[in-house]
């Protein structure tokens, strides 16, 4: 037992030298000649194990993970410093009042004027508020996902505009919003409501025939099964259109932003690179969910 414990210590001492201090097998064997025969094969195995364990994560995963982690860090900080009355953390009545206000403003033309505003313009908060209202008033998951895709397109336009105006902070804010929308699309695309259409897609004429007793009743405009089938097809069509939109954005948005790298000032390039990384990773995830 004592001998065994002594050998465990010697082996560990050698491993420590091999693993952490850059020592060699030969040096260890010279230090412990009385254990050399037993040590040598074990140290060879340990060395091979060390080399084989040096698995490296894929660079693209490392980049994506780094960005997501840094975004989580910033989000934590943002939550902490967010004032009580602000979008995202408001009591329900505040949201309701805001909705009414925005609807009232819509009549005055302010909303229309704000719709084309950029992040550095006074009406931009009205634009964001209007978008929030649109989201609140869109009940279905598929509808929300479609809206988030449109908003993602707007944020990319804004990022491009802010890059031209040398405003990195505005780029970062728009990028955070873009990231949030793409994450939402991925999450909404996985919901049962959005995926259900894919499963219940068969056309009415292909629907299985169920034997049932004939019942005399008023004929609906469309047979029930056909109606169900039609609704499902519409949902599948909308889902396919959403996917096509996301595919198109996935190709165009990062490319559009990357093209700007040649012309924008150096000071906005880090923020622009971050926006490119976000759009690439975000669309990839959204498409995975839509597949």
């Amino acid at each position: 037992m004592r001998k065994s414990r002594e050998f465990d210590n010697v082996l560990d001492e050698c491993l420590e030298r091999l693993l952490a201090k850059g020592g060699t097998v030969e040096q260890c064997l010279r230090s412990f000649p009385e254990h050399a025969d037993e040590l040598e094969p074990l140290l060879e195995t340990a060395l091979a194990t060390k080399q084989a364990s040096a698995i490296q994560p894929r660079p693209e995963f490392r980049d994506r993970a780094r960005y997501q982690f840094y975004a989580a860090l910033q989000e934590r900080e943002r939550k902490r410093s967010r004032p009580f009355f602000s979008w995202g953390w408001q009591p329900q009545w505040v949201a309701a009042v805001a909705i009414v206000l925005v609807l009232l403003l819509a009549g005055s033309g302010t909303v229309a004027a704000a719709s084309g505003s950029m992040p550095d313009e006074p009406l931009y908060p009205v634009k964001l508020a209007t978008e929030q209202v649109q989201l609140v008033l869109t009940p279905s998951a598929l509808g929300k996902a479609e809206l988030y895709a449109k908003l993602a397109d707007k944020r990319v336009l804004e990022i491009a505009s802010m890059a031209g105006k040398n405003k990195p902070e505005q780029i970062e804010r728009a990028t955070r919003r873009l990231n949030a929308y793409l994450t939402k699309i991925a999450a909404l695309a996985s919901t049962q409501e959005v995926t259900a259409g894919v499963v219940m897609a068969p056309a009415a004429e292909e629907a299985p025939v169920v034997e049932e007793a004939p019942v005399v009743r008023e004929a609906p405009l469309l047979p029930e099964r056909a109606r169900g089938g039609k609704e499902a097809r519409i949902k599948v069509d909308r889902r396919a259109r959403l996917r096509a939109t996301v595919v198109s954005y996935a190709a165009n948005h990062p490319a559009r932003l990357r093209a700007l790298l040649k012309t924008v000032p150096e000071s906005v390039k880090p923020a622009l690179l971050q926006a490119i990384a976000v759009s690439e990773a975000g669309y990839e995830k959204a498409l995975e969910s839509l597949d």
């Binding site: 465990d8 364990s53 982690f69």
Partner: protein
């Protein structure tokens, strides 16, 4: 150690740079540890990311007791691995992830290296859970015996004995594998 303590204290006080530094220092080791424990690169990626997001969530509850920060992170990773293996029940029959052996960009290195990774992944699956944990923490996580003992909740002597038995078992498994290959040829 004092440097790490002050870094962790800063991270606890929501210093983003401090937490980012801890992330960069430990990311690869945690990834390697998880990959070796579960033998699945894709899952290892997601789990590694989750380890750090969980660490970010619970950093405020971390109490410095002189134990390296890595030990805390590896404990989070260990718990996730245990949960994963329990849920997936893949421990005994996980298919070998081919992509694990092709992540090296140098073709020659890859050719020499891939066989080792493959052998190691297959061999470690035949170790006991405790032996696999020691090998993963010591070789992939590059932790000292003291740190491994802390994470596993065992004495240093017990971990050294486990380490010894794990390397002996690994050698036997690898040699048996080689002999089978030679016989097939």
């Amino acid at each position: 150690m004092q440097d790490e303590e002050s870094l962790v204290q800063r991270a606890k006080q929501r210093d983003q740079k401090a937490f980012a530094q801890l992330y960069e220092e430990h990311f690869d080791k945690i990834y390697r540890y998880v990959a070796l424990r579960i033998g699945d690169k894709t899952e290892a990626e997601d789990m590694t990311q989750q380890v750090f997001l969980n660490a970010l969530k619970s950093i405020s509850s971390f109490k410095w007791k002189g134990v390296p920060f890595a030990a805390w992170l590896f404990r989070i990773a260990h718990n996730q691995v245990v949960d994963y293996l329990r849920k997936k029940n893949k421990q005994a029959a996980a298919p070998l992830d081919e992509s694990l052996v092709s992540s090296d960009s140098n073709p020659q290195l890859m050719a020499e290296h891939s066989l080792d990774v493959e052998q190691l992944l297959l061999a470690t699956r035949r170790l006991t859970e405790a032996q696999r944990q020691v090998i993963s923490l010591r070789f992939a996580g590059e932790l000292s015996i003291n740190q491994v003992a802390n994470i596993m909740g065992k004495s240093q002597g017990a971990v050294k004995a486990l380490q010894h038995s794990a390397i002996v078992a690994l050698r036997k498994i690898l040699l048996a594998g080689n002999n089978e290959e030679v016989q097939r040829i």
